[in-house]
Symmetry: C2
Subunit: 352 residues, 2 copies
Amino acid sequence: MKFNIALLAGDGIGPEVIEQAVKVSDAVAKKFGHEITWRPALTGAAAIDAVGEPYPDDTHEVCATSDAVLFGAIGHPKFDNDPSAPVRPEQGLLKMRKKLGLFANVRPTFTFPSLLDKSPLKQERIEGTDLVFLRELTGGIYFGEKGRRDNGETAFDNCVYTRAEVQRLAKKGFELAMARNKKLCCVDKANVLETSRLWRETVQAMEKDYPEVEVSYEFVDAVAMRLVQWPNSYDVLITENLFGDILTDEASVISGSMGLMPSASMGSDIALFEPIHGSYPQATGKNIANPMATVLSAAMMFEMAFNLPEEGQAIRDAVNKALAEGIVTEDLAEGGKAYGTKEVGDWLAANI
Amino acid sequence: MKFNIALLAGDGIGPEVIEQAVKVSDAVAKKFGHEITWRPALTGAAAIDAVGEPYPDDTHEVCATSDAVLFGAIGHPKFDNDPSAPVRPEQGLLKMRKKLGLFANVRPTFTFPSLLDKSPLKQERIEGTDLVFLRELTGGIYFGEKGRRDNGETAFDNCVYTRAEVQRLAKKGFELAMARNKKLCCVDKANVLETSRLWRETVQAMEKDYPEVEVSYEFVDAVAMRLVQWPNSYDVLITENLFGDILTDEASVISGSMGLMPSASMGSDIALFEPIHGSYPQATGKNIANPMATVLSAAMMFEMAFNLPEEGQAIRDAVNKALAEGIVTEDLAEGGKAYGTKEVGDWLAANI
Ligand SMILES: CC(C)[C@H](C(=O)O)[C@@H](O)C(=O)O
Ligand SMILES: CC(C)[C@H](C(=O)O)[C@@H](O)C(=O)O
């Protein structure tokens, strides 16, 4: 098969980790007889510097006409501590999500046996954890009307959801649950919020179409607790944009493998794949960043965007082998030999 | 001194744990020469059953004319799983907060050395944790306009904050930080929300009045992570209502001492004190519930409502002694002897 993949390296360590994911993807393409055309485009602080815009129209054009988007990381310290600056990298992110219609953010949290001791949680709490959040990504309070009144003395943010928005996200949730352990948790705050009551009644009405899925409804505050107490009690969780922002990040640190966690953002026409870690500016250009999360994001791309599970598994196998044999960057080296970003990428590509 | 204290026992184990806090408070009053008049009033499911309302006007009258409110817990399984039922115990809670003007929820998370092994976190992560959240409690998306449009197909919740609301909460935060370790973290989502930008600019403008306080600004998703990774890096955290709901609950489970955590809700005229645990319906009437969180809430009442730190310390000392000597309920007994709710209360009162 032939694929056009938009390549958004972004800021900080983005370009370095993306380079490894490209290498590994090319090795997969070679082995399985596919042909990939990479289409680089500007985003983030790099794009602001170049053209004054974090998600330029040209970049959107490249993404919208590709078969998938592979994304590094964005964010630069010069934009920190000034959340009201007129142009910021995050705005590019939100614009990109909206314009590409990436409504479902898929955030797995799973454990690697060899990394369990990295978790802040006790081993017996974290063992066996394998959950996926589906976070709604193009609605809610992120995109509702916001502004000031009373000469700037009053601020407001409107949270809005339509039944159709909830349905398309929940549908993906039910389908994912069917492909996994058939448990779905709808996370809301239906005891306080009207939008949450809409979420809950919409999901309740869909239950009958998926009789095999065991559905539960939990308040967001309760989930924030149980994620720390018994993360392995969850399978698939669906939630709205802001709750998802908070809970997926909370979930990402419990496994101790945050530096290895990939993610996907799915739309109706296109999907984007990216590591969950940030642009890690301090490490830029030092060849020390861990490329595995980006490489595993490429695995998700083969699986979810191209429907090629074997190709994805080949990447996962290579990563597991690297972890088992200690071919890792300094964050995982634990006193053993630390390999460079490039060297880990080379090793993974050679072991596809 | 003479105090009138409104006594809202509530549902489930509420009445049992409240009884112990009364006993211990009376022992303190006797020892230090105070006189307490307890003024019981209905709330929660108990009030719905009796008068059809979770926070009846009579109860409000009792609270508003007392020197403090001591609260047990509310919630009853018959109201669960129906968040859209016309009358629910939680509505009473929200109405009470609003009518009493309880704008600052004070939620400490601290550790008891003897209970460290109860934490889901590894010991080195949790050791030394001693933080306090100040959660804004009468504004934000909880109390903004909410409803449906388009024949119920669209739901909305409005989040609103005024500068004055942020200022009065932040003022308490700065003062608390001054009385503690002089570190204040403002938790917001200023990269996305206008209300958060108002929070941040308001707190920034107040920094100059508290030059000794070291202020940091963190996004809510980052705090959700760091609370699990390095909870002991925080001192005082201030945040808006919904973020506070999620993060204070997350923080409450990290210490392993959730059953012991007290809280306060402060207004301009009156303050309310309550354990953070729920009504624990399964344990009702069994004399097994742990009364220590409610007893420690009484300690906070002496300290914060009556400005009597010695009286509060006397209660804390008794609780520490009980923990050290194993005078605990079954949740903490670990194979040792488990005492009843009443027996723990009696022991604490006798040891004041
Ligand atoms: C950078 C920020 C706008 C973004 C979000 O809140 O969605 C980030 O936290 C994320 O989760 O991707
Ligand atoms: C019961 C509910 C309305 C309440 C809240 O969200 O404030 C509770 O979770 C709390 O934190 O006291």
